[in-house]
Symmetry: D2
Subunit: 96 residues, 4 copies
């Protein structure tokens, strides 16, 4: 799952502060994750990750944001087990 | 919230069958919703809608899909109450 | 194609002003479009619409925005001609 | 910019073949890019990257796909120059 949380109506163009808190919460929850320049990629079941997304979505409101746009892309494949990094490794193997 | 569910690895280019079932489930759950050409827009609390998204995400698996990509955009504004159609009406008022 | 343009680092939680200007530009360009609560749906060739997306993406910068996040989803089907409203009509026919 | 290209109506659940070709084209075009498990992140001007997106979007059609869904997220910040990896590094600095 890729998760991106954007607070609107803040005076700053930077969202790094929110993203840092978000990473700390994922560590506390023990959810495997990778931060990219465009979002955070999480590994787990659909149910567990949507619950996590709800927790993360609330964080900027707790810091005073009045509007938050959260984007979630769940790529859920049940014909084989896929972990973080597997899709990148599979493409890189084809490029050799 | 906008919700889009795409089954992959199906032989057909059409996803209309899944989308029709999806609408029926939303009616049964009594969730206010609008179907557009690019997804379904739902109204409710973040918690209720993420739970609904999980239900909808499971539908294609029940019909034999092996990979499903589900996209969720939650636009959650807490400085004022917004219902389906309000944002469109507000823009149209500006265009007059 | 669905197009959503979000200026960041503005003091207001409302983006209606930008969206209204966006609709005016689409009318001037004569691009068929439908406004929804979660974005604007446009009809045309991939090439024409990406050119339009670039024009629309520049609008908030011209009004002083310093950071703009633009989301584009192109659903391009070449096995049959699809126009605005066709996908919704096809699902509604299945629901009867 | 993050770019994700999904061919629909293919018999396989895997899109790795398309993604590998996509990476080769980016190398030929000399566009700085990073592959993640959920898409490809590209660096450049809005104009250059939308042109590249159009090229990449055509690739699956050339291989016989009849429907392609391409998602583009442009995060365009003009108050400071940002390169691939800068946003991740900035968050990691906050986590120390």
């Amino acid at each position: 799952m890729q998760l991106t949380v954007t607070p609107l109506g803040t005076q700053s163009t930077s969202v790094g502060e929110y993203v840092a808190e978000f990473q700390k919460v994922l560590q506390q929850l023990n959810i495997p994750h990778t931060l990219t320049d465009m979002g955070t990629i999480l590994e787990g079941s659909a149910e567990e990750l949507l619950k996590t997304a709800l927790t993360i979505h609330e964080l900027p409101f707790n810091k005073g944001a009045k509007r938050v746009v959260t984007q979630i892309v769940m790529d859920d494949r049940r014909d084989k087990k896929i972990s973080l990094g597997d899709k990148v490794a599979s493409v890189q193997a084809r490029l050799k």
